[in-house]
């Protein structure tokens, strides 16, 4: 848990070996002597074991920028607390070299009744810096936070943005060798964001600084990190490649969106939203990967059942979940006459004109409107449970901004 001579290789600054951690979650509130006695006499354990981390091993080299990603509850924060020494592992070992500065949360120990200046010294002391050491960093911290005029004000008079800026500046200007950050990105206004962005880009190049970052932003992972770890249910699924980790994470999220909804379907007897007697079944099912590059096609089936013996149409739309809006709609595709039984039709959607983002396919079955030959009436449509989603994820410069790639539009100049 501390500076450890066991680390033979000079370049490995953090080594986590076979670390497991479980928590006892109290099933009954046992924070009193009475309850403890009752539980003891009845032989109730009063808790159940939850294995949060299982056999985690990885190494971080000097100068690495490691991203740790995973869905909520996967054990990322527990891992970070173990690295920071706040928790002790049940088994396995953690060793590091140099000064490790943890930021599980920004501004730990900040006191609203103290001035900004006093808080910097207090917070610094908590991170293990003496007064003289902080005095040396002080100007740097304050100017980065842009709070020169406010340092003698009490913290309670700061806006929340100012507090966060001060805390964040402390975090990144602290002279540590290993910086441990838990979802602390994206604070402050746009100008401050840009500054942080520059800082991280710079620290990424610094071979002496090591950063471990827990985040939900795959953009940050791809931008700053050189390595990443994906944790799923307490186990490492991807160890090393940042693109694999980021893509698999996105995939995990898309999948969970679909499984979550299955469980919430409470009325299996009645037709779910969007479906009815005429259209008892309509579903989009992906048949290719769901995290793709723009060179690939998104392949999917639309499975349907149309019970009435009449002509009907199919239409589907592509929704841009990242930017909003509907970039594409097929219009009515004639499907012939309906009948009993489920059918499916396969589609392949080229993605070459689209930039990065998460997209959703929604479909509807329609029939011509007898009153207005130009219109169709929607008979059934895919609800949230029956839509399907996919992501385009690429590294290329500028591929996150606009929906369309710049060469998707043939621009002419005069």
């Amino acid at each position: 848990m501390s500076n450890n001579p066991e680390i033979q290789n000079k370049d490995i600054v953090l080594s986590v070996k076979n670390v497991s951690k479980s928590f006892r979650l109290p099933t009954e509130q046992a924070s009193g002597i009475k309850q403890a006695l009752i539980n003891w006499t009845r032989g109730i354990k009063g808790y159940r074991e939850q294995n949060v981390l299982k056999d985690i091993s990885f190494e971080v080299e000097r100068g690495d920028f490691l991203g740790i990603v995973g869905r909520n509850g996967s054990g990322k924060s527990t891992l970070l607390k173990l690295i920071s020494g706040i928790y002790t592992p049940d088994s396995g070992s953690i060793a590091y070299q140099g000064k490790l500065v943890p930021f599980i949360e920004l501004g730990v120990g900040f006191n609203p009744e103290l001035t900004g200046r006093e808080n910097v010294f207090l917070n610094g002391a908590m991170l293990g810096f003496s007064r003289t050491e902080i005095e040396a960093m002080y100007d740097d911290i304050v100017s980065f936070a842009e709070l020169e005029d406010f340092m003698d004000q009490k913290l309670k008079n700061y806006s929340s943005g100012m507090q966060v800026r001060l805390a964040f500046s402390l975090a990144i200007k602290a002279k540590g060798d290993i910086l441990v950050l838990d979802e602390v990105l994206a604070v402050g206004d746009e100008a401050f964001q840009t500054k942080c962005n520059n800082f991280f880009t710079e620290i990424k190049k610094d071979p002496s600084k090591t950063v471990i970052l827990v985040t939900h932003s795959m953009d940050s992972v791809k931008k700053y990190c050189n390595k990443a770890i994906l944790i799923r249910d307490g186990r490492i699924v991807v160890n090393g490649d940042k693109n694999d980790a980021a893509n698999l994470y996105t995939e995990d999220n898309l999948k969970s969106l679909q499984t979550d909804k299955h469980e919430t379907n409470e009325n299996p007897d009645k037709y779910p939203l969007g479906l009815n007697e005429t259209v008892p079944y309509l579903k989009c099912v992906p048949t290719s990967e769901v995290v793709l590059s723009s060179q690939q096609n998104f392949e999917f089936d639309i499975e349907y059942e149309y019970t009435k013996n009449e002509d009907f149409d199919l239409a589907f739309s592509m929704l841009d979940m990242t930017r909003g809006g509907i970039p594409y709609d097929t219009g009515a595709i004639p499907m012939g006459r309906g009948g009993s039984g489920r059918h499916k039709r396969h589609f392949s959607l080229p993605l070459n004109i689209f930039n990065n983002g998460t997209y959703q396919i929604t479909a509807s079955l329609r029939k011509p409107d007898p009153k207005n030959p130009n219109e169709t009436i929607r008979i059934g449509y895919t609800n949230e449970e029956n839509v399907c989603s996919f992501s385009i994820s690429e590294d290329a410069h500028g591929s996150d901004y606009a929906l369309l790639k710049y060469d998707a539009v043939k621009l002419t100049q005069q």
């Binding site: 928590f23 920071s84 599980i104 003496s130």
Partner: protein, 282 residues
């Protein structure tokens, strides 16, 4: 020797930095927002003394008849207040800094030490007031003051040891706060502070042996022993009896000191053994 010193300072550097900042912050925040600020730390004991003096010396007239009784009474109350405050604040210190414990790794005992040192600062101010008053209240200052550092160290270690045990238990059992409050109230009246020990001796004139036994038992409690010693050595060697003068068997005499050492060491042991789990439980 020098190497040992460097080793020690490297090991306790972080603790020392943090302890200084926490004590400083606590002291600053104690009177934050009040008009008189730090002056309260002197004014408050003075005002409390005035109340005690009027109630106990003027109205209740509980006294051993000696001219030093008022100042002995004030000194005893200050010392008891310290013991009460240090153990109570120490007990709550880990839980009240729970937020910190869950976010950052630092030696947990620092919170307890910081809380007890905060009480120690109050005690120092109170003692300064007592000593100044002593000059006007017939206090008899003698060479015995050289024993005072030992007496204060004993009282502090006793308080710290108790605080460490209580703080550990309090993490799991919050009932302790109320229990301890009641217990301290009982202990306060069971300790010869607001009444002179001679009163106990004379409580059953027909059978003086009972009084003598109770008196000896009272003196064997570590806080009582330390408080009586401090009063004896600082203010009134003539009128304050101590365990050393009242009990003649040497191995019974040293019981309070042994108890203090045992409680302190046990406190350190219990706290160290459990402190790694605090962050998970809180």
């Amino acid at each position: 020797m020098k190497q040992l010193w460097e080793k020690l300072s490297a090991r306790y550097r972080y603790s020392w930095i943090l302890l200084k900042e926490l004590v400083k912050t606590d002291f600053k925040l104690r009177y934050e927002g009040s008009w008189l600020g730090v002056a309260w730390s002197v004014i408050k004991p003075l005002m409390l003394f005035a109340v005690m003096y009027v109630v106990f010396v003027r109205f209740l007239r509980v006294s051993d008849g000696s001219p030093t009784w008022p100042i002995v009474l004030l000194c005893g109350i200050s010392l008891w207040n310290f013991f009460n405050e240090a153990t109570t604040m120490g007990m709550q210190s880990v839980v009240s800094r729970g937020d910190l414990l869950r976010k950052i790794n630092f030696p947990k005992y620092i919170t307890v030490v910081a809380a007890t040192i905060g009480s120690l600062i109050s005690l120092a101010i109170n003692m300064a007031v007592v000593i100044i008053f002593g000059f006007f209240s017939h206090a008899h200052y003698t060479w015995r003051i050289i024993f005072l550092p030992l007496n204060f160290a004993e009282l502090y270690l006793m308080a710290l040891g108790m605080a460490l045990i209580l703080a550990t238990l309090f993490v799991w059992f919050r009932d302790l706060q109320h229990l301890w409050e009641v217990f301290m109230q009982v202990a306060f009246y069971a300790t010869p502070i607001i009444y002179p020990l001679t009163m106990v001796t004379q409580m059953n004139p027909s059978n003086p042996k009972v009084g003598m036994t109770v008196q000896k038992l009272m003196l064997l409690s570590p806080p009582a022993q330390a408080i009586m010693d401090i009063r004896h050595n600082l203010l009134s060697p003539e009128n304050v009896p101590t365990v050393w003068g009242s009990i003649h068997t040497w191995y019974i005499k040293i019981i309070p000191v042994i108890l203090t050492a045992v409680i302190f060491l046990f406190g350190v042991y219990v706290f160290r053994k459990n402190s790694a789990k605090f962050a998970e439980v809180l």
